[in-house]
Amino acid sequence: MEDLGFILATYLITFGSVATMAAFIVRRGRRLAAQLPAEDKPWI
């Protein structure tokens, strides 16, 4: 495969970035959810 470095960098940065954002959101959500009663979490 030609230009493997550029191609792999694109995929790794993209997947890594979205995974980091997802992990941040889940972690923040768990932290906030632990501080609030069920009435503030209508999706439960």
Binding site: T10, T14, A22, A33, L36, I44
Partner: protein
Amino acid sequence: MPTPKSPTPETSTPASAAPAGGASTGTAFTRAIGLATIIGMGALAVFGLFISPADVRQSDSVRILYIHVGTVWVAYVAFAVTALSSAAYLWKRTTSLTWDRFAGASAEIGVLFMALTLLAGSLWGRLSWGKFWVWDARVTSTAFMFITYIGYLAVRGLGGSHQQRARRSAVVALLAVLEIPLVHFSVKLWRGLHQDSSVADRTHVTLHGLMLFSLFVALVAFSLLYVWLLMHRQRVLAMQDALDDKGLDYALQQRRSEGDA
């Protein structure tokens, strides 16, 4: 700013007694979307890196375009959702801070995906044009839109009540969305290096076979990811607002219950 409701012991649960299993933003639906997203992303990696053939003209650099087109698709959708949610907030019949939170969550996701679009485009440009950056109409207008939405997020971060935040950011969102058609049609309005539509022109599909399918996999995978991120992020913002409104009440209530015990 809404009058904070003081929870009474009969109707609410102290923060420390949040029900087990409810301490997250996930539901059965979002877990299903999450699973489908992981499968979709795996399929994108397999098709994009291994199964899709190299292009006759672009060679293997065409594999970058599956990421580039997929991420810009999500960015466009995210910014359009931001505008629609903002309009729903401003419309008197549907005024609700839930719309504002959808707008904010969608804009955050859009900014991330627009950054990834610019990055992937830059790497592809280095291979195809010999430069990481050119002052082409499409590239420049995309960068301008990216900066505009960073400004939108900055406006959301200004002080004031939740309603003030929602109103001013909704106005900015409705102005910022006008950039999408400008960016999209910039390749037709001004001649530049950036290529026109890769998938189809007005009369027929120009991308065929496994390349077209790989691009389809990318669009589906990134769309599922967007839905998952949007739902979770909107719930995080809802909890953040609730904590801003009632956090002090909960802390006092908890302290009193500790004192009684």
